[in-house]
Each structure stands twice: as structure tokens, then as C-alpha cells.
């Protein structure tokens, strides 16, 4: 059986990397019975994912729940706690366990016509700017691109103006001064060529992007699988999931750091202690406020705490983490009824 796999991202992107790995894992786990063809973003792009899964254009796809905010109001609450993110792997596995165990989230995926099989996470976002940001005062009046509500709240709290902008426009907007910077992954230095326009990186830990659904599997495809096939498939997905985090949270940030250090036009700023303390205090208050609003948010916060301890113990090796996650999460799931 050959499955159509849609990472909705081009070659160098972490999602595409993860899908290439997944295709290999799928063959391994199924003994060659299941294979995958990875489709390029010219066939299925992120906004087209829902229709692609529902109409059979793709069997498995990288669907971003925040992109389909109306379809995933409950799953999306995990994104409201973005400022919690300090350990990429912990955020990813917390998101995975959250998606698997939260009943309203499962309903949302069913309604979406798909099955949730795990998540991944970015590295911890930082400030990438054209003006130096050394202290809280330097943030006053800066116009910063924001990738989501928590980052907008952070910026506003410190007197900066969050700007909504398609991520592909960041390069142009920064080079022309329409914005002063972005709250983003350091990987954007390479993947959106910010290394050509940025002047400063301020290492204030902001949070992660972790509301992902890596191997969103079309319900039709899932229903056609036998229990044995499902087990093999989930094993492959479970090994594939941390590959996104490994790539996006570790390998690529290391490359980007090296490129930034090699570039004499970019200064890396370690912010002063007051700034760091103020930022951490705001993040804690923001997370506490959101967790008080919604019991699901509180559940997610608890899972983050759980997985931070596990990652502390196991380390950052993807395969070791996948093995542990199998015991912690998937071994407890009845794949006969899962997603139905």
C-alpha cells in the first residue's frame, strides 16, 4: 500500500525532513508493506490541507491546528500557553499527549475528518531586530512581527507594537524598516533569510510553536487499516514525531547560530538580568491567567511539567524519547477504537 504524504513544505523545511524520515520508518515498521510518496507543497499547501485530507488528495498531512483555528478551538488552547515553552522536546511530547488524551480535541480531529498522531515543536523563540534591545526600555515603541496572541501580549506588555504580517513578508518588511524585528525562531535567520537584514539577536527566551499535528491521517485511510497496520503505522509516526523537534528545535538552530556568529553585522545580545526577570515574570503571569481561564489549559500546563522531567531524564535523543513516549502515551491507547 502506497500512501500520499503531504508535509506542505519544501525540501529544506523541518516538516519535509520529518516526512522523509517517516517514509523510511513506515517501510521499516511494516516490513515494506506500507510505503509513502512525499508530495511537494506545489501539490498540497498548508491552507489546502483540510480539503486534501477530506478528498483523498493526501492520506497523511501536516495540518497546523492554529491555521484552522475555527476547526480546533479546544486543541488550540495549548497555543495560548506558548510562553511556557523552554524545552522543545517537552513541549512536543506534552502536545502529543494532550492531543491524544483530551476528549474535545479528539472530537475536533474527527470532525476535521482526520486522526491525530502526535506533534513536534520549534526551538525557543527569541528577538531578531534591526535595533539593539538590551533592556526593557529598548522595547518601547518597537514594531515587532508576532506569530500569535501570546507573543502579541508579551510585546504589548513591554510597550512594543505587535504587527500581523505573513511570515514570508518578514524579510522585506525588516529590510525596508516597516517593522523593527520579529519574535521568532532563530531558524528564520536562514529559512526566511533574515540573516541578510537583521542586526541584533536578543536571547530573551519567549516561547515555542508546538500546536502541530504532524501525521494527520485521513479518517478514510485510518478506517481502511487493520489493527496490525495501525500499530505499525503509529509506531512509525511516533518515531517520526520527534524528528520535527530534533530538526526545528536543535539541528537547524545550531546551523543558524553558526551563521549568525560568522556574520560580523549581527550582534548577539544577552539581555540584562532585570530584563530577563521581567520577561519571565510576565510569562509566568500570562500562563497562570490562561490556565485559570480553561481547565484544558491547566491540563496542558501539567503535561508540560511532566515531560520536562522526562526529557531531563532521557535527554534529547529522538529515538530514545520515542521509545519512552510509546510507553507513556501510545501503549495506553486502544488503536482498535482510536479516532473513531
Amino acid at each position: 500500500q502506497n500512501l500520499l504524504l503531504a508535509p506542505a513544505a519544501p525540501g529544506p523545511h523541518p516538516a519535509n525532513y520529518m516526512y522523509q524520515q517517516f517514509a523510511t520508518f513506515l517501510e521499516e515498521e511494516s516490513g515494506g508493506a506500507m510505503t509513502g510518496t512525499v508530495l511537494g507543497p506545489e501539490v498540497v499547501s498548508l491552507p489546502q490541507m483540510k480539503d486534501a485530507l477530506q478528498t483523498g488528495l493526501a492520506n497523511v498531512g501536516n495540518a497546523l491546528p492554529l491555521y484552522f483555528a475555527a476547526d480546533f478551538p479546544q486543541t488550540g488552547v495549548a497555543g495560548d500557553l506558548a510562553l511556557l515553552g523552554r524545552s522543545p522536546h517537552a513541549m512536543a511530547w506534552a502536545m502529543t499527549e494532550f492531543g491524544v488524551t483530551c476528549a474535545p480535541c479528539q472530537d475536533e480531529f474527527k470532525e476535521f475528518g482526520a486522526v491525530f498522531l502526535g506533534a513536534g515543536s520549534s526551538d525557543v523563540y527569541v528577538l531578531i531586530t534591526t535595533k539593539p534591545v538590551r533592556s526593557v526600555d529598548d522595547l518601547q515603541g518597537l514594531r515587532l512581527r508576532s506569530g500569535g496572541a501570546p507573543y502579541s501580549r508579551w510585546a504589548e506588555n513591554f510597550g512594543a507594537t505587535p504587527v500581523n504580517l505573513p511570515v514570508g513578508d518578514t524579510f522585506e518588511a525588516m529590510s525596508q524598516g516597516t517593522i523593527d524585528g520579529t519574535m521568532a525562531s532563530i531558524v528564520d535567520m536562514l529559512s526566511y533569510r533574515l540573516v541578510d537584514v537583521a542586526k541584533y539577536v536578543t536571547d530573551v527566551p519567549l516561547g515555542t510553536y508546538h500546536v502541530t499535528s504532524n501525521f494527520t491521517t485521513a479518517l478514510d485511510t485510518w478506517n481502511d487499516m487493520s489493527l496490525e497496520q495501525r500499530t505499525q503505522f503509529v509506531k512509525a509516526a511516533n518515531r517520526g514525531d520527534p524528528q520535527l523537534t530534533d530538526r526545528w528545535g536543535f539541528q537547524l538552530p545550531a546551523e543558524a547560530r553558526a551563521a549568525v556568529e560568522a556574520n560580523s553585522d549581527i550582534e548577539v545580545i544577552t539581555p540584562d538580568a532585570d530584563f530577563l526577570a521581567a520577561s519571565e515574570a510576565f510569562a509566568a503571569a500570562d500562563v497562570a491567567a490562561k490556565a485559570a481561564e480553561n481547565p484544558l489549559s491547566a491540563d496542558f500546563a501539567a503535561l508540560v511539567e511532566k515531560w520536562e522531567a522526562i526529557v531531563e531524564e532521557v535527554g534529547n535523543d529522538p529515538e530514545a524519547l520515542a521509545a519512552r513516549a510509546w510507553d507513556e502515551i501510545w501503549a495506553k491507547v486502544d488503536l482498535e477504537t482510536y479516532g473513531q
Partner: protein, 432 residues
């Protein structure tokens, strides 16, 4: 998956176009049928269902109608007529001076416009009637602007180069600098083509346009409104007041305000400009929808693997590899839109380049140039279509395709030069 079906699709597209199907319709029918044949009716319906909205609902794409509006208002208010009077004073002494000055006007407009379609439309509306009146063969007049429009994506800013930089993870600024060189090379090569035609075939391009004498200073006064517009768009773009996507809207509003201030903005000019903007944008967007479906169809057919095999075959010399790459882009360019062609090919080519130690900046410049050649080659050439639309009174589509042939030959020379002497393109980026 099934490259054969992909190749049949390309052949079927050609047949349907000859059978007089509108371009958009032919693209949609082939894609739908092809996907149905490959993976089933439901996914084929899915393509019909989600391509139109996702293609059109795009912020970047909004630059197209805005730059078109700017060009049409400038034309209908006589704003740009002054530009050509001035161009005549300066360049009319040259053989084919009017065509040469419109090619250089395209290059100037390119520095404020990120897309080649908008450049072609804005200049075509202005320059083609002028050239026809001066005795140019309409096909050559239209061809020179369809080709000249491609400079819009070569000279920065350029949407295609930004996208290339992102996919190839290479410096956009450096690709821009390389683009500046190839843009100027292209303009010069087109000017040489015009001179050659005008000397050898005076029936196509009259050797000398009547020179306007004694107007001197008065002609340059007419340039003031255009000057103000260029200052607004160019100045605003480079001082960071707005982005290239927003520049079209600000430029259009600026044109309206300037012409209203000089009393040239009539009700008729407004309504004609709006109608032309709607019809031109509408007929291009529906082709864009069809071309996107076709790209999705070819992507599903596994065209990439086919190309990868062609490139991987034996270890190629530099010239052999370049020859294959040029031929592949020229073929893809005949029927694909540039964005999709890049998405399909770059993942295949980029690793090969790394192995051969070829500069990604240089390759980006080459790829964008080759994709822009595709904008003027039949059967699907968006620049040609937009010119046909703005100069409907003068030419048919086939005539425009005939008119671009000499300029495509010039393009081949420019491409060969860039491959033979990579340093030409890499000189400016190297200074950085």
C-alpha cells in the same frame, strides 16, 4: 507516480489550445481529468474545490491589480504620454528609438514593480499604440513590450527572487544584485535586437521616427507628473514607508491624486481604467488558477523524479548539466507558471549544484531569467496574454507570440553568456 499521464497531459493541453479552448479552461480540464485518471474522482473534485480560493486569496497577488490600475490611470490621463515625448527627444535619433526607449522605460518601471506581468501591462498600454502610430509593425511593437516586461522580475525588487532565496536558503540581497546585472544585460540585448531589425527590416520597425524639434524644455515640463510619481513610489519603497506589495496601491492612489491636481482626471478616465483593471486582472487570475491546478497535477504525476533521473544520468560536465537545466526550464516554462516550476525543480537541482560547486546566487539569477523567458513562450505565456489584453485593438495573441521571437533569441544569447562567464553576474554580489 505516473509520469506518462503527466506527459499525456502536456500533449492534451497543446491539442485543446489549438482547438480554441480558452487557456484557463484547457488547463483546468486537463488537470481535472489527469488527477481523476491517476488517483480518482474525489481528489480531482477536491482540486476544483480548493485551488480557486487558495490561489486568489493572496496578499502578495494583490500587487498585480494595483500596479495594473496605476498603469491604466497613468495612460488614460495622458500622464505617461509626456514620458514618450521626452524619450523621443533623447532617443529618436537611434534606429528604432521608440522601442528602445520603451524597453528602457520598462527597466525603470522594473525598479518599482516586483512582477513582470504588471510591468508589461503598465508599459504596454502606454507604448504600443504610440509605436503603432509611428509605423511599427504591431506584432513587433507588442513583442518588445511583452519581452521588456520580463525585466520587471529581473531588476529588483523581484517577487520571484525573494521566493528563490527562501527555497534555496541563499542571500536575497545578493540574488537581487545579480538580477540587476542580468536585467541591464537583457535590456541592452533587446535594444540591440531592435537596432538590428530596424536596419535590416525597415518594414517592421521604421528606421527613424520623426524627431520633435524645438520643444526641448517644454517636453521636460510634461515629465513632472511622472517624475513626481516615480519619486513617490521609488522613494517610499526605498525609505521604508511601504513594501513592494503595498507600492502598487500607493502608486495608484498617487497617480489619481497627481492627475486630479493637474486637472487631467476625467470621469471617463476613471471608469475606463477601472474596467480595464477588472477585465485584465480577472482574465489573468483565472489562468493563474488553471496553471496552479496544472502544477498540482504535474507534481502528483511525479515529474520531479523524472527530472531527477534526467539530471542524475551519468556524471555530467558543467556544460552538459547546464544544457539539461536550460532545456528543462525552457520546456517547463512553455506551460507552467514560474512559482510552481520553481517548487518542482529546485529540490531536484539544488543538491546537484552543491556537488558541482556552483554558486546558488548565480543559479538563482539564471533560474529567474529562464522562468521569465517562459513568460513569453507559447502556448502559455502570461506576459503575452496581458499584452494581448491591453493592446487588443492592435494585435492577436499569435501575433504577439510572433513578435517576441527575436527577443527570445536575444534571451538565449544572454543565458549562454551568463553560463559561459558566471563572473558577469557574480561581480556585483561579490562587492558586497
Amino acid at each position: 507516480m505516473s509520469v506518462e499521464i503527466g506527459l499525456w497531459g502536456v500533449a492534451a493541453l497543446g491539442v485543446l489550445l489549438v482547438l480554441r479552448l480558452p487557456v484557463a479552461l484547457a488547463l483546468i480540464i486537463v488537470s481535472f481529468t489527469g488527477i481523476w485518471a491517476m488517483i480518482g474522482l474525489k481528489p480531482a473534485m477536491g482540486i476544483l474545490q480548493n485551488t480557486p480560493y487558495s490561489f486568489v486569496a493572496s496578499w502578495t497577488m494583490s500587487a498585480v491589480p494595483m500596479f495594473l490600475l496605476m498603469g491604466f490611470v497613468a495612460f488614460h490621463t495622458g500622464m505617461t504620454a509626456g514620458l514618450f515625448d521626452a524619450a523621443k527627444v533623447v532617443l529618436a535619433r537611434l534606429p528604432g528609438g521608440l522601442a528602445i526607449s520603451s524597453i528602457f522605460a520598462c527597466s525603470a518601471f522594473a525598479s518599482v514593480s516586483g512582477s513582470s506581468v504588471a510591468t508589461a501591462a503598465a508599459m504596454g498600454r502606454i507604448a504600443i499604440p504610440e509605436m503603432v502610430r509611428a509605423g511599427y509593425r504591431p506584432s513587433i511593437a507588442a513583442g518588445s513590450i511583452a519581452a521588456g516586461g520580463t525585466i520587471g522580475a529581473l531588476i529588483p525588487p523581484s517577487i520571484l527572487m525573494i521566493i528563490y532565496g527562501i527555497i534555496a536558503e541563499t542571500s536575497v540581497t545578493q540574488v537581487f544584485l545579480g538580477g540587476l546585472t542580468i536585467g541591464i544585460l537583457t535590456a541592452i540585448s533587446y535594444a540591440i535586437v531592435v537596432v538590428i531589425i530596424s536596419v535590416t527590416r525597415p518594414d517592421l520597425i521604421p528606421p527613424r521616427t520623426e524627431v520633435i524639434r524645438g520643444e526641448g524644455a517644454r517636453v521636460f515640463v510634461k515629465l513632472l507628473p511622472v517624475g513626481a510619481l516615480v519619486l513617490l513610489v521609488f522613494g517610499g519603497l526605498f525609505s521604508g514607508l511601504f513594501t513592494a506589495t503595498e507600492a502598487g496601491a500607493v502608486g495608484a492612489l498617487g497617480t489619481v491624486v497627481i492627475t486630479a491636481a493637474t486637472g487631467k482626471l476625467t470621469r471617463k478616465a476613471i471608469s475606463r481604467s477601472l474596467i480595464e483593471t477588472v477585465t485584465t486582472t480577472g482574465s489573468l487570475l483565472i489562468i493563474g488558477i488553471g496553471a496552479t491546478m496544472f502544477t498540482r497535477f504535474l507534481g502528483l504525476s511525479g515529474l520531479q523524479n523524472f527530472i531527477a533521473q534526467a539530471v542524475a544520468g551519468a556524471d555530467l560536465s558543467y556544460v552538459g548539466l547546464m544544457l539539461i537545466i536550460v532545456v528543462i526550464y525552457l520546456i517547463l516554462g512553455t506551460f507552467m507558471e514560474p512559482f510552481g516550476a520553481m517548487l518542482i525543480t529546485l529540490p531536484v537541482f539544488l543538491p546537484v549544484l552543491g556537488a558541482q560547486d556552483i554558486s546558488l546566487v548565480w543559479f538563482g539569477v539564471l533560474v529567474v531569467k529562464l522562468l521569465e523567458v517562459g513568460m513569453i513562450t507559447p502556448p502559455v505565456g502570461l506576459n503575452v496574454f496581458v499584452i494581448r489584453n491591453v493592446a487588443a485593438a492592435h494585435v492577436t495573441t499569435v501575433q504577439v507570440f510572433k513578435g517576441v521571437i527575436p527577443f527570445i533569441i536575444a534571451d538565449v544569447f544572454v543565458v549562454a553568456l551568463v553560463i559561459a562567464v558566471p563572473a558577469l553576474v557574480l561581480f556585483l554580489p561579490g562587492l558586497l
